[in-house]
């Protein structure tokens, strides 16, 4: 079971708490987590990445294992701590603005 922590606005949108748990088939990557997350919560489609190109939205970041994975290729395997569920995959609304 993969643990995912969502930012406040997306929790409200998906009507979930701080953390959700999802099943991911096959390799655990950014892409496979987002695919599973969007399948479980369709209202999140388009809010983290583009519908068609799947390019990450500029002010959305992905953290795990105390690393910023935002610029990694989406099919890169994620750290073992995420795959085993011992640490969550963090979807973060970037600190931006004034």
């Amino acid at each position: 079971m993969i643990r995912v922590v969502l930012p406040t606005h997306l929790r409200t949108l998906a009507r979930v708490g701080r953390e959700v748990q999802i099943e991911v088939e096959g390799r655990v990557t950014q892409a496979s987590i987002l695919d599973a997350l969007e399948a479980s919560y369709p209202m999140l489609r388009g809010t983290m990445r583009d519908h068609t190109t799947h390019q990450r939205r500029p002010f959305v970041r992905f953290f795990a294992g105390q690393q910023d994975l935002s610029h990694d290729p989406p099919d890169t395997p994620l750290p073992e701590v995420v795959a085993t569920g011992s640490e969550p995959f963090l979807v973060v609304g970037a600190m931006a603005g004034g």
Binding site: H9, L10, R45, M48, V60, A96
Partner: protein
Amino acid sequence: MTGVRVLVGTKKGAFILTSDGKREKWDVNGPHFAGWEMYHLKGSPADPNRLYASQTSGWFGQLIQRSNDGGQTWEPVGNQFTYDGVPGTHQWYDGSLKPWEFKRVWHLEPSLNDPDDVYAGVEDAALFRSKDGGQTWQELAGLREHGSGPSWQPGAGGMCLHTIILDPSNRERIFIAISAAGAFRSDDAGQTWRPINRGLKSEGIPDPNAEVGHCVHHVAMHPSRPGVLFMQKHWDVMRSDDAGDSWHEISGNLPTDFGFVIDIHAHEPETVYVVPIKSDSEHFVHDGKLRVYRSRTGGNEWEALTKGLPQRDCYLNVLRDAMAIDTLDSCGVYFGTSGGQVYASNNAGDSWSPIVRDLPPVLSVEVQTLP
């Protein structure tokens, strides 16, 4: 009992203000979608409990929300706005060519007859339509693919399609306006379009009389006279008596003819409202006074409406979609400000009072007259 429901979009959420037919006491409900920019909310003329809302964020992009119970509950529907084909380029501020890129929905216009049929005006400028209650959206690409499209360029607020008017007497006819391209009309339900900007003069563009390139801020039509249009342009208040084929200026004695909103009395098609703004470099009202101007003669002769509005030390703006008119016998007029006030008049503008004073900056105001 007859009443009104005012739908307010702000920079940090949506609010729903309700009152009975007297429009003296108000219930304020909100914020809905707290923290999100709510560009526009509008109800279906065919089913007043069906509402649509444009919810957007620099972080998380565009969402469309739909309500089937007058705004008590909402559900997110489709948010995929994909341009038809290869979208091409438009002009950018530095003279370069920029590919069309979807940014947000500025305006939602439910059809007059079917609550599941709704149009969306978006940035970068294009018109989309959904026939399934907002679940899926298809571009009416004939507009963007009009031959002038590559010459369009953004205004300061972005290259947005902000005005959609559906002709109640002719289902095939649609008017739209884009900043800063101008006004366009379709006579075949949105398949093909032509610019309707003859008579507009804009000193800020190389050819002041150009076919396109005008910064149209808003257009209004009275449903009983669909051939008569009123326009607040960047500068100049304009009128057309031939469905946009030609325009003439009606700014008359206004203290300044810059502004954003323009609207029409529900029962008097020659009574028009604007809120003059000092200039394009000072986006606040003239002389520190918040004044709505009303013409009862279809333009040129304007009177200041000030009763109940601040007449000193006031430096607010009123944005293009932030005025609305109800259809009760004593016509109600509403507008929202950059300072978070929503003012209402239950006597056609003779006097005003604030419904609320301290909302986030107001982006849009619509009103529904309820049975």
